[in-house]
């Protein structure tokens, strides 16, 4: 099977999974205790008022009609209206997406930039201080709850040193760059950097630690293989032996594991947002669950679930691309 067909097949599977996600999320609402109207209507609402609200929201229709309506709505980008604020759910949700993406990407970039060289250094200087430091860091990193790490960072850098802000996101990177390009004013970028540093470290530490660990053990495996000896025997300089030969094969399984860990990244983003009052999908999902704002809950879960599915397909594609031995099944 060719690469293109592989991608198409995975995408079709992905769409199927997303449909499953939508269905599960939809059913979730009907299996949870409590009538949503209790949360929407004022406490002293008359039965008539309740009735009217139910009709307006289509809550009195049979289940399959509601399901069908919801599905068709989704296809046109309509996720219904927030029970609480009455605004369009889709608008609210997508307004939050950039903040979360920004955070996740910043954390991933930090993680990759630090962890891969660290893993390589650790593997090539085995049993030297650098290796012990890297191993200790990665063990601590995968064992530290990130919300606590975030709080400790706040304690040190914000409360004690008064060096970085504790929370919020006054400006997005897109606006900041826009301002920089249009007016040459870099204050926005500085502000953005100040605010994203602690959240990005908080979210990125686990991944930095994890990838360092994986890179180290993978590199140790690869460096012991005879193609490495062969590469040295033919006179290749050590940088090439390490970064072109060994690292390439190390990263192939690392990519798979990273794909599997995407869920952890998104989950980590949720709690990091909660710690730093970061206005992303995570804080939105927590708030909507607390207020039983169903259209928002459903919308958030669907957006999170489907982005997870499709990023995973991208990871698979990357894996297939870098690994010539992949068998498209």
């Amino acid at each position: 099977m060719s690469f293109a067909r592989f991608i198409i097949k995975r995408s079709l599977q992905g769409i199927f999974v997303v449909w499953g996600v939508v269905t599960v999320v939809f059913l979730l609402r009907f299996s949870t205790p409590g009538d949503p109207i209790t949360f929407i209507a004022p406490l002293d609402a008359s039965p008539e008022l309740r009735q009217r609200i139910a009709e307006e929201l289509g809550l009195n229709q049979p289940l399959y009609v509601q399901y069908f309506d919801y599905l068709t709505g989704l296809l046109t980008g309509d996720m219904g209206y927030s029970y609480i604020s009455g605004t369009e759910a889709a608008t609210r949700i997508f307004a939050r997406v950039p903040a979360t993406v920004e955070l996740a990407v910043a954390a991933t970039v930090v993680a990759i930039v630090i962890s891969i060289p660290l893993g390589v250094i650790s593997a090539t200087r085995r049993h030297e201080p650098a290796d012990y430091a890297a191993t200790t860091f990665s063990l601590a990193g995968i064992s530290t709850p990130n919300f606590w790490l975030g709080i400790m960072l706040v304690l040190v850098f914000a409360v004690q040193l008064n060096f970085l802000p504790t929370s919020r996101r006054p400006v997005g990177i897109v606006q900041a760059v826009e301002v920089l390009v249009l007016s040459g004013n870099y204050a926005g970028i500085v502000l953005w950097l100040q605010h994203i540093t602690l959240p990005a470290i908080t979210l990125g530490t686990y991944f930095t630690a994890l990838v360092t660990r994986l890179t180290r053990s993978g590199m140790l495996d690869e460096l012991g293989k005879s193609y490495v000896d062969a590469a040295r025997a033919k006179g290749l300089p050590e940088t090439l032996v390490r970064y072109k030969h060994a690292l390439r094969n190390t990263l192939i399984p690392v990519i798979t594991v990273l794909g599997l860990q995407l869920g952890t990244l998104i989950g980590g983003a949720v709690i990091t947002e909660a710690v730093f009052a970061w206005p992303g999908l995570g804080t939105l999902v927590i708030n909507s669950i607390n207020t039983r704002d169903w259209p928002l809950i459903q919308g958030c879960l669907i957006v999170i679930g489907s982005s997870f599915v499709f990023v995973n397909i991208a990871v698979d594609a990357l894996y297939a691309y870098v690994n010539p031995q992949v068998v498209y099944d």
């Binding site: 599977q13 199927f16 999974v17 997303v18 499953g20 996600v21 599960v24 979730l28 949870t32 205790p33 063990l139 601590a140 995968i142 064992s143 530290t144 709850p145 919300f147 606590w148 709080i151 400790m152 706040v154 304690l155 409360v159 994986l214 399984p253 798979t256 594991v257 794909g259 599997l260 995407l262 869920g263 952890t264 990244l265 998104i266 989950g267 980590g268 949720v270 709690i271 909660a274 710690v275 999902v285 927590i286 669950i289 607390n290 039983r292 809950i297 879960l301 999170i304 679930g305 489907s306 997870f308 599915v309 698979d316 894996y319 297939a320 992949v326 099944d329």
Partner: protein, 337 residues
């Protein structure tokens, strides 16, 4: 089930690895602390003492601004005054905002973490192994169906799914009488162990998929072995074939995975408690959340339980590494393309 060879590998790996030893010591310590909490904790962890709130841990006396109303020349004035709060041996790790003893809360917190970690993992193993063995053993349609289901489960990040489930179904707690207190050995201590039941259920629901994948892989590779075919030809029932031939062979990878999952579940539980979704009223995560508001005046409230989590998780992870290195089940990167 556990062959002498396995034992030998475990012992050899342990001999060569200081980290494995540290891990075992940490895990044993946490287990002992959790089990004997009523004897180790100096106070009832729930007992408030507002007169003694925010006492710093030993070695860290702090100053605090205190406001007081005072009669000055016949009128009442509010006076602000700096007072030193001294650390005291009575509360070696200090007290929280309600004057509860941090040491006792940290010791009791081990119970919650460990109970959720162990019961949650056991439940996840039960569900996951059942589904995985069924899928792998029967293959075909059953396999496809169950695996698609697990794909859908995996599409929800476990924390998000857990929050959604607990937030929507509510946190149910189960009260288990503390045997030491019932026997009258530690009469001062709280009579019940509070197990956050929904949390146990939910962490199992979001984690069973990993076990299902491993068990399925093992079943798939074993079901065509000659001895399995032979057993089938002799008329053994599916149940007995799975129980006698396939399950025992899957134990090693599942054991290693389970250890790693205990660590993951302890972290998940603390996150849920931090966000206030667990329903438990005594948990490291919950104390961190409460300490978040007092970072400026009482840093230790949020810091100390976190240190406890880190030690517990490091211990479990080290034991997991040890088992993985010794038993080499090859599950890293399991479930890829």
């Amino acid at each position: 089930m556990v062959s002498p060879r396995t034992w030998r590998n475990l012992r050899r790996e342990l001999r060569g690895s200081a980290l494995a030893k540290i891990g075992i010591v940490l895990v044993l310590a946490i287990i002992l602390v959790a089990v004997f909490a009523p004897f180790l904790a100096p106070y009832d962890p729930y007992q408030q003492d507002l007169g003694n709130s925010q006492v710093p841990p030993l070695g860290f006396s702090t100053t605090e601004n205190e406001t007081r109303s005072e009669m000055v020349n016949g009128s009442i004035e509010v006076v602000e005054e700096e007072v030193t709060v001294n650390a005291t041996l009575a509360h070696p790790l200090g007290t929280d905002a309600l004057g509860r003893d941090m040491l006792s809360r940290t010791i009791y917190g081990a119970r919650t973490s460990l109970l959720v970690g162990v019961f949650g993992t056991m439940l996840a193993v039960l569900i996951g192994v059942t589904v995985g063995l069924t899928a792998g053993y029967y293959g075909g349609r059953v396999d496809d169906g169950l695996m698609r289901m697990s794909d859908i489960m995996l599409a929800f990040p476990s924390l998000v799914l857990a929050i959604a489930l607990i937030g929507l179904f509510g946190g149910v707690t189960i009260r288990i009488p503390d045997p030491f207190v019932v026997l009258g050995l530690a009469p001062e201590m709280p009579p019940n162990i509070v197990l956050p039941g929904t949390v146990v259920l939910v962490v199992a629901l979001v984690n069973w998929v990993w076990f299902a994948r491993v068990a399925r892989g093992e079943a798939l590779s074993l079901r065509n072995e000659e001895y399995v075919k032979a057993a089938r030809a002799l008329g053994a029932s599916d149940g007995s074939i799975v129980a006698r031939h396939i399950l025992p062979n899957s134990i090693t990878p599942i054991l290693v995975l389970a250890t790693i999952q205990v660590a993951a579940i302890i972290l998940l539980e603390s996150s849920l408690s931090y966000l206030g979704f667990s329903g438990a009223n005594l948990s490291w995560g919950l104390d961190i959340a409460q300490g978040r508001d007092y970072l400026a005046s009482a840093w230790w409230i949020a810091s100390i339980p976190g240190v406890a989590i880190v030690f517990a998780v490091i211990g479990v992870n080290l034991v997991g590494d040890w088992l993985r290195d010794a038993l080499d089940p090859g599950i890293e990167g399991e479930g890829g393309v």
